[in-house]
Symmetry: D2
C-alpha cells in the first residue's frame, strides 16, 4: 500500500528526514497496530498528548498571527478552533472514560521530550516566518495521517485511536494542510521554491521536528 | 444614562485615559448618532475598518498564543474564530451592498492612522505579555460597546452599525471581555493588582490605544 | 552628484518606493541644508529622535535574535551595542548642550508619527523574518546616509548633524548594512531573489517604512 | 563554605527548584572538580556549549528587545556583546587548541538536550515578558557562578574552565545579573513581588530551566 498523497512539499521533506521511518514505524506505533502496547503506556501517552495539544494549539494560533493572506488566516484560525473546541474536549472525554479526570489531566507534569518538541515548534514560529512554522508543524499533522492510513482497519484495543487518524475526516484535513503548505510556499517563493537555498533550511526544520516525534514515542514507550 | 459596566480594570483604565471622552464622543461618533456623517466618510471608515479587522484578529490570535490557562485560551480562540469566520464575512456583506466588492476591499491601502494603531497593539502583545495585549485591545472592544450602548435607539441611516454594537450580543461580549481581563489580572497579580507599579504601565497601554482610536476617527472624518 | 552605492537591494527598493524623494528631499532636510530650520523644530526632532533610537535599538536587537548565521548575529549585535553605548550617549550630550537634560529627554512624550514608525518596524520583525526586519530598517539607516552624503559640506548651524551622517564612518556603516542585506537575501533566496514573489512584499516593507519617515519629518516640521 | 550571594530572587528560586543540587553537584561537575572527567566528554560538552552560546546570545538579545527601561536595555545589550564578541571567540580559541577548528565547531549537530533547553528559554521570552526570560536565563548564568565559586582552586586538568567561572570577573557578572533581576522584579511588581500569584510561575520557570541544565550535564556525561 502506498502512502497517502499530502502534496509536494511533504513528499520532498519526508524523503529528506532521516528519521521519518523511525517515527512512523516506531515500536509504539507497532504496539498500537498489534494491540500489544500496555494500557499504562497508552494512558501515559494520552496525558502527555493533552499537554502537547495545548502548545500545538498555541502554535497554530501563532500561524494565524503570521499568516500572509486571508486564506492562510482562515485555515489557521479554523485549525485552532477545531483543536481547542473539539479536539481537546474529545481528549478530555477519552481520558475520563479511562478514569483520568480533568483535574488529573491538567496536573500532568510535562515530560522533557514533550517540552523539547513543543518549544522547538513555537520558537521556530516566533523566530522564523509562516513557512518555518508550517515545516515544524507538518511532521505531527501529516505523520499521524500517514500512520492512521497505514493502520486503518487493524482493529484491536486501540482501534478508536487508529480510526480517528485513519478516518476520512482526518485524511481530508491532512490533504488540506498539505495544500496550505504547498500554496504558502508558492505564494512566497514561486513554483521553483525547492531549488532555493532556504529549501534546505525548511527541510531541516521538518527533519528536526520528525526527530522530536521519535523522542515523543520513546517517552510513551518508556512509560510513566 | 450611566455607562455600561464592563468590570473593574476597564473602569480604572477609562478614568486614567485622558482621551477617553474625545474617543467615545468624537465628531465621527456624533455624526453616526445624528445621521449627519457623509456616506463617503462612512464607506472610507468601513474599508479601513476591514483592514483593521485583519490585524485585530491577528492580535487576538496572539492572545491565544500568550494565554496563561485554558480558559484564556478558549476565550481568545473563540474571539479569533468569531472575527475571522463571522465578523469579516459580515463586513464583506455590508460593503458589497454599498457597491464595494471583495476585490476592492482587499485592495484598500492602509491609512497611516490605521497602521499606527494595529502595529502598536501587536507590538505590545509581542514585547509584553497577555496583560499588555489585553490593555491595548480593550479600548477598541469596550469603547465600541460603550458607544453602541449610548447611541442605541438613535435610528437614522447608521442604525445598523449602531445596533450591532448597542445590541445584546455585543454588550454580552463586552461583559465577557471585561471579565476575562479582570480574571487575568487577578490570576497573575492578585486582587490588589491596581496598587502595583505595573498597573501604571498597563493604564498607559490603554491610554495610548485610546489616543490611537481618536486618530482612527479623525481619519474617518478626514475622508478618503 | 550621484547617490552613494549601498548595494543591490537598496537600489531596487529605493526605485520602487514612491516617497523616497519626498523623504530624502523633505522640507525639513532642506531646512537643515540651508540652515533655515528653526531651532525649536530641530530640538523637537532631537527629542523625538531619542525615543526613536530606543525602539530602533530594540529592532536591531530583534535582528540579532532572528539572525540566520554568525555573521548576521555579529553585525546585528555590533549595531545594537553602537546604538546603545555610543549613539544614545552622544544624543544625550548634544541635547545637554542645548539645555535639555537627561530627565527632560526621558520624559519626552512619543509623537504619533514616531510611535507609528517604530511599532511598524518592530512588528514587521516579530511577524516576519530577518529579511522583513532588514527591509523595514533600511530606509532609516540608508536614507540618512544618502541625505548626509548629499548635504555634506553645506556648513551652517546644522553642520554637526550633517557631518555625522555625511562623514566617512557613517558612510562606511551604510555600505556594511547594504552588504549585510544583500548577503542575507542571497543566503536565503539565492542570487535571483528579486524575481521571486516575496520580493514585492519586501519592497513594500521598504516603501511603507519610507512613507513613515516622511511622517517623521512632517512631525519635526510641525514642531512641538 | 556558603554559596555566593547573587541577590534575593535567586535565593528564593534556588530554594524552590527541586533539582538545584542535582544540577550544581552533578557527576559531570564532580568530574571537572576531581579531574576524572574523560577528555572526550569535556570536548563533547564544549562543542555543544558552543551551539548553546549562540542561542543563549539570542535569548539575551531578546531581553534587550523586551527591556522596560534604559538600564535593563544597557545590561542586556552589554551581555549580548560580551557573549558574541568575547565569549564565543574565546570558545573558538579553546576548541582550536584541542584540535577542533571553527568549521568542525560550526558543523556540530545540536544534541536533543541542548535543543530542549535553548528553545525553552527562547519561547519563555517570546511568550512571556522580561521577567519570564530572566527566570529562565538565571539557572545557567548563576548556577555556573555557584559551581565556579565552589570549585575554585581545585586545580587539575579543568582548572581553566573552573577559574573562568570561579574568577572575580564572572562572579561580579553574577552579582550584576542577580541585581538586574531583583531590580526588574521590584520595578514591575513592587517590593512584595514574592507574595503575588505570578511568583510561583516565575519560580517554576527557574525550576524547569534548572531541570534542563541537569539534562545538559547528562548529555555531557553520556558523551559523543
Amino acid at each position: 500500500m502506498s502512502a497517502p498523497d499530502y502534496g509536494h512539499a511533504f513528499a520532498l521533506w519526508r524523503d529528506h528526514a532521516p528519521q521519518w521511518r523511525a517515527y512512523t514505524h516506531h515500536d509504539f506505533v507497532e504496539g498500537l497496530r498489534q494491540g500489544t502496547l500496555p494500557k499504562d503506556n497508552f494512558l501515559h501517552y494520552l496525558r502527555q498528548d493533552y499537554v502537547f495539544l495545548i502548545h500545538f494549539s498555541r502554535a497554530w494560533a501563532l500561524a494565524a498571527v503570521k499568516a500572509g493572506n486571508l486564506s492562510e488566516m482562515r485555515a489557521a484560525s479554523g485549525t485552532v478552533h477545531a483543536l481547542v473546541h473539539h479536539e481537546m474536549p474529545l481528549h478530555l472525554d477519552i481520558c475520563a472514560r479511562e478514569g483520568i479526570d480533568a483535574a488529573a489531566l491538567e496536573a500532568t507534569v510535562e515530560a522533557p521530550a514533550n517540552l523539547a518538541y513543543t518549544r522547538y515548534v513555537l520558537e521556530a514560529g516566533y523566530s522564523g516566518d509562516f513557512l518555518d512554522l508550517m515545516a515544524a508543524l507538518a511532521p505531527c499533522v501529516l505523520g499521524y495521517g500517514e500512520i492512521g492510513a497505514r493502520l486503518a482497519g487493524s482493529g484491536g484495543p486501540y482501534s478508536e485511536w487508529i480510526e480517528t487518524y485513519g478516518g476520512a475526516e482526518y485524511q481530508g484535513l491532512c490533504r488540506d494542510v498539505g495544500a496550505l503548505i504547498d500554496d504558502a510556499l508558492v505564494y512566497r517563493l514561486g513554483a521553483q521554491w525547492h531549488s532555493l537555498p532556504c529549501a534546505a533550511h525548511l527541510a531541516q526544520r521538518f527533519a528536526t521536528a520528525t526527530a522530536l516525534e521519535v523522542g515523543f514515542w520513546d517517552m510513551g514507550l518508556a512509560g510513566p
